[in-house]
């Protein structure tokens, strides 16, 4: 799996890493049980501080998305966490709100937003 980080982004680097791993799991590019590079390997690969990667991994582990087995490595959880459906909807609502505001600001009609979502969904499945 290829990760990319953008140091100048408003999103902290550890969140960029989290987001990309979550996206890869959601899109099926990372399957349950798949091994992730160690936080040190990933730090060298991305040329960022090892503690930053560790923070991302710790947070993903706290959320139940990955598990670390001592001496073996870090893996995508076999059993992905059950999120309370109401909470899940709430979180999605925030993201949707931002998307709609952005679309309104840039004058993109709603139909185009749907089109974009469909296009991205196909991209994720690939």
């Amino acid at each position: 799996m290829e990760l990319h980080i953008n140091p100048g982004d408003e999103l902290p680097i550890y969140r960029q890493i989290m987001r990309q791993i979550i996206d890869a799991v959601a899109g099926g590019r990372l399957q349950a049980g798949a091994q992730l590079p160690s936080h040190r390997e990933l730090a060298e690969q991305l040329v960022i501080a090892p503690l930053t990667v560790k923070k991302a991994y710790d947070e993903l582990e706290r959320q139940g998305l990955i598990v670390t087995q001592r001496g073996k490595g870090t893996f995508i959880s076999e059993r992905l966490p059950d999120v309370d459906p109401a909470k899940r909807r709430e979180r999605l609502r925030d993201a949707a709100q931002r998307l709609l505001s952005q679309a309104a600001l840039s004058g993109v009609p709603l139909a185009d937003v749907f089109g974009l979502l469909e296009e991205m969904q196909k991209g994720m499945e690939r």
């Binding site: 140091p7 100048g8 982004d9 408003e10 999103l11 902290p12 680097i13 550890y14 969140r15 040190r40 730090a43 060298e44 040329v47 960022i48 501080a49 090892p50 503690l51 930053t52 923070k55």
Partner: protein, 297 residues
């Protein structure tokens, strides 16, 4: 444990004009702190004080609980230092300089020395004066790290290097962090390098510490508010809010930095000053730097 400790540090080159006016912060073992400030803000002075190359006019600097001047040898053996204006003796060869350093440090790691020499493709026979700026900096880095110091002081280490030499420098530093958990204090004008390396940011301005926060907190718990100019003295009204760190009158609007996330910033402006048309957003490090140190003269 505090590995580096600046405590109420004052420094003046000439009486009456203090470069540093009471700087206090410390680094725990394994921490990487990016030191930011405009040219002349006193970053190099702080580093030199930590190296014992200069003495504070008031306050103290300690490394490992030791005084870098009184316990100079003990401290220097455990510290590596690279600066932009470091001068290596031109008439020596790369091999001679390395040998000189090897003799000074009991903890010298010959394996690491060899690895870095190969990685940087440094020929031992080459005279320093024939090296490019980037190669000379690489020799300085090698000499600063091959004794596996517990602390690295990097003062604008990438200054004047081309992008590939800069990246090489970063990669080496990350590898050292991985291997040894070195404590690093470094200054750089390249914000992206700071963002890659640092866990924490110390920003000095006009002799004082303006910011001392984790990099993630700066992104998640600070915001920029664009406030339209209204009636009355908006700038002072804004500065009167305890969360407001700085204001700057710009062409488009008044720019204010707030010590809270954008949502809260918006509500503070609404409730506190009855401003309903502000735009509050998270802010990247580079913009924050410009807003904070560019905003006050």
């Amino acid at each position: 444990m505090k590995v580096i400790d600046f405590s109420d540090v004052h420094y003046s080159y000439k009486q009456g004009s203090d470069v540093l006016r009471g700087i206090s912060f410390s680094l725990e073992a394994g921490e990487v702190v990016g030191l930011l400030g405009k040219n002349g803000a006193g970053k190099t002075t702080l580093m030199r004080l930590a190296m014992g190359m200069m003495v504070t006019s008031q306050g103290s600097v300690q490394l490992f609980g030791l005084d870098p001047r009184r316990d100079a040898l003990d401290v220097k053996r455990r510290v590596g230092y690279v600066s932009e204006d470091q001068v290596l003796p031109e008439f020596l060869s790369v091999g001679e300089i390395i040998r000189l350093h090897r003799g000074l440090f009991p903890t010298w790691d010959e394996g690491l020395e060899r690895r870095l020499r190969e990685r940087f493709a440094l020929s031992p026979k080459a005279k320093i004066k024939t090296l490019s700026k980037g190669q000379a900096r690489q020799v300085a880095l090698l000499c600063a790290v091959a004794h596996r110091p517990e602390v690295l002081l990097l003062d604008e280490p990438a200054g004047g290097l081309d992008p590939s030499a800069r990246r090489e420098f970063l990669e080496t530093s990350i590898r050292l962090l991985n291997e040894a958990g070195t404590t690093i204090l470094f200054s750089s004008h390249y914000m992206s390098d700071v963002e890659r390396m640092a866990g924490r940011i110390a920003m000095i301005h006009e002799g004082r510490l303006l910011i001392d926060n984790s990099l993630d907190d700066l992104r998640e718990k600070y915001s920029l508010a664009l406030v339209p100019r209204g009636s009355g003295d908006r700038q002072n009204q804004l500065l009167g809010l305890k969360e407001c760190l700085s204001v700057r009158d710009q062409a488009d609007a008044i720019h204010a930095i707030f010590r809270c996330e954008p949502e809260r910033c918006r509500s503070i402006l609404e409730k506190g000053l009855d401003i309903h048309n502000s735009f509050c957003t998270p802010i990247a490090l580079e913009d924050m730097f410009i807003e904070l140190v560019g905003g006050r003269s």
